[in-house]
């Protein structure tokens, strides 16, 4: 098998996997959250799981500074 063909196949595999990821991501986003779980983003009152700053718990640093 030539190098060019291998490269084309490699790009094809990556594109296929990327397409799979994009489709699953869109399906995940479109699936409605169960009742009571609609707002599971950062929440100062509820998000006390790890008390470290992350995109889910942006209040950790503020808490320390207060």
């Amino acid at each position: 098998m030539s190098d060019t063909l291998r490269l084309v196949i490699a790009i094809g595999v990556i594109l296929f996997l990327l397409a799979t990821f994009i489709v699953t991501f869109i399906l995940y986003k479109r699936t409605p959250a169960p009742k009571g779980c609609e707002n599971m983003g950062p929440n100062k009152e509820r998000c006390k799981n790890c008390e470290m700053s992350c995109h889910l718990n942006i209040y950790a640093d503020r808490k320390e500074n207060e």
């Binding site: 990556i14 996997l17 990821f21 995940y28 699936t31 959250a33 799981n49």
Partner: protein
Amino acid sequence: MNTTPYIYTFLLAIISSCLIDNVVLSRFYGICPFIGVSKKVKSAFSMGVAVTFVIILAALICWPLYHFVLLPLQIPFMDILTYILVIASLVQIVGLFIKKFSAPLYQSFGIYLPLITTNCAVLGVVQTNTDTALSFGLSMANAIGTSLGFLLVIVLFSTMRERIEEYNGNKAFKGVPIALISAAILAMAFMGLMGIGAK
């Protein structure tokens, strides 16, 4: 056909990757959730179960993908990129099913599930399985043992941290410093298991 040696090897591989060659304490994979999500036992257990689930599924999918797609197509150099995309898609699919069919599970896993995509323990297990040319059975044993090891260690560590929180000693040690020292002691305790089976 006598299957006893196979079962024995399978169980030995699980115990070995769970206790002796622990993914967190001897290979230092998955340190981020180990430190970040181990402050409370409940959240540590949720994270551990979610990681267990994803590691086993990822090993189940990636082994055939490597041996029946990447190797025959002569593109084994694409392994890491492929695994990353497979794991990311897998996490989305698992999340989707949980979101759709199990509200209680979504409530407990919900915020931890997307974080697993960035857990290098998952990628590490899959990569080890193909790098060391393990058979499918042993790959699954490695995946099961590694994930159980992760679950065990994160829950053990969270129970330690819950008690350490009550410590009122030197301020310099409070928080992360004492957590890291505890992790080191835990790692040393696990190192004691390395002699098991040695003749």
